[in-house]
Subunit: 272 residues, 2 copies
């Protein structure tokens, strides 16, 4: 495997760009190929078999880009499909759930952790399983928040309506006296200040993106796959692929990555 | 074409069942084949080319069921794809936009009509075009309401949050002094009482499903395709197909149709 090969990152849509942002920050030399399934988004309310089927198509697409490692930047795919497909993946593959679970298991002091995510992510129970593997005494409380993604996409990041919905979704977690809350969907960091307002300052909010990038570094080092730029200072290259309108994607991506990004290319993902 | 052949009805997901309900009420003898694209829902935020591509796959699937006519029970498809695909469709095909526009054009007294729908439906401008063809003096005011579908699916049909969001979305339409409002998305009739509360009793709310079923009857009569049951009282048959988990669909469908419906069958729509 060539060290100059790109890291493949994929998501059901746009949210995974928050993970790309973190990878660029921590691993600025790496080349990245991103795929966002913008035509078939969202995955969070789909069945497990459909999520697995879509994931397999995306993996086959990423193989054509000769990626040296893959990051599943989507909680739903990490929770619903990663365990099922990973045996057949010929390169190291990392999801966001395990790193997020690890941080939470270490961060909690009172042993009470909350998880919020899509219906699929919460139903999978995977955050709970990982946390309880690492810290059997920790109690995990979960809650699906189906309106958070549409509210975030509507731009209502700080809004009385979002606060009211958050207060309802998070009431049971507050009552459960959690001291750590995993933001188990890549859109949720956009609502961070609202969630902070509802949960109060004493609760630790965990965004799995940071720890996922740490784990990617560890994995590349382990397999001796880190890109070496040396004195030449070769600029990294970033390529973006989507299954729906590329222009719309580019606008959102420029905002999240705070940079002009190259034009995304639309591909027919269902043919893979 | 055989009179006993079924009518094909399709939607991006579940909402189209409100149209099926109306067809069953008005045309109780007809056999119906329904397809809901529950794996790829929603269509309302997708690009036109993707909506056309998905529509072509669904049409090819419906042809395998030898349908005698097709009802597009989805405003987004009716607005974005129907004009583009209909030349190639070998049977009569009816959308919900034209019937809805016709009712509104006739119902308005002050010549000011509002349209609410998905981003795609509103961007298409098709409701406006049809209304202005029928009644050139009528002024049309449109507004996309992206949160209405997730709010309806979350069950918040009557809720202070939905009322607040509706008040924001509908403020400009109220200010424009419309006397008629088209519910241009099959989910919106579920929010009817909230929309009624915000708009007041003097505004006429138009649900295109009713007029679509009227148009289907007219079309079947015109082509001499009405099913004849005569004295034998042959029971109509209903078949449901989806692209994601059938069980979830069945529960929702039983609720909307107020009857036990036969098990839905999952099909691989992307292979058509």
């Amino acid at each position: 495997m060539h060290k100059d090969a790109p890291v493949g990152v994929f998501d059901s849509g746009l949210g995974g760009l928050t993970v790309v942002r973190e990878i660029i920050r921590q691993l600025p030399e790496e080349n990245i190929v991103y795929f966002g399934d913008t035509a078939r988004v969202p995955y969070g309310s789909k069945s497990q078999s459909t999520v697995i089927h879509y994931t397999e198509q995306i993996l086959r697409f990423l193989y054509t880009k000769e990626v040296k490692a893959i990051v599943v930047a989507c909680n739903t795919v990490s929770a619903y499909a990663l365990e099922e497909v990973k045996a057949g993946v010929p390169v190291p593959i990392i999801g966001v759930v395990k790193p997020g679970a690890r941080v939470a298991a270490h961060a909690t002091v009172n042993g009470r952790v909350g998880v919020i995510g899509t219906e699929a992510t919460v139903n999978s129970g995977l955050y709970s399983s990982y946390i309880m593997e690492l810290a059997p005494d920790v109690k995990v409380f979960s809650r699906a928040c189906p309106l958070f993604v549409p509210l975030a996409e509507e731009g209502l990041w700080k809004d009385p309506v979002t606060t009211e919905i958050a207060a309802r979704y998070l009431a049971d977690l507050k009552a459960a006296d959690i001291d750590t809350l995993i933001l188990g969907c890549t859109h949720y960091p956009l609502l961070r200040s609202t969630i902070r307002e509802v949960m109060g300052n004493s609760v630790n909010l965990v965004n799995p993106a940071y720890e996922t990038a740490v784990e990617l570094r560890r994995t590349l080092e382990h397999f001796d796959l880190m890109r070496e730029t040396g004195l030449e200072q070769k600029q990294p290259s970033y390529s973006f692929y989507v299954s729906d309108d590329p222009e719309r994607f580019r606008r959102f991506a420029s905002g999240v990555l705070k940079a002009e990004i190259p034009a995304a290319e639309k591909i027919a993902i269902e043919e893979y």
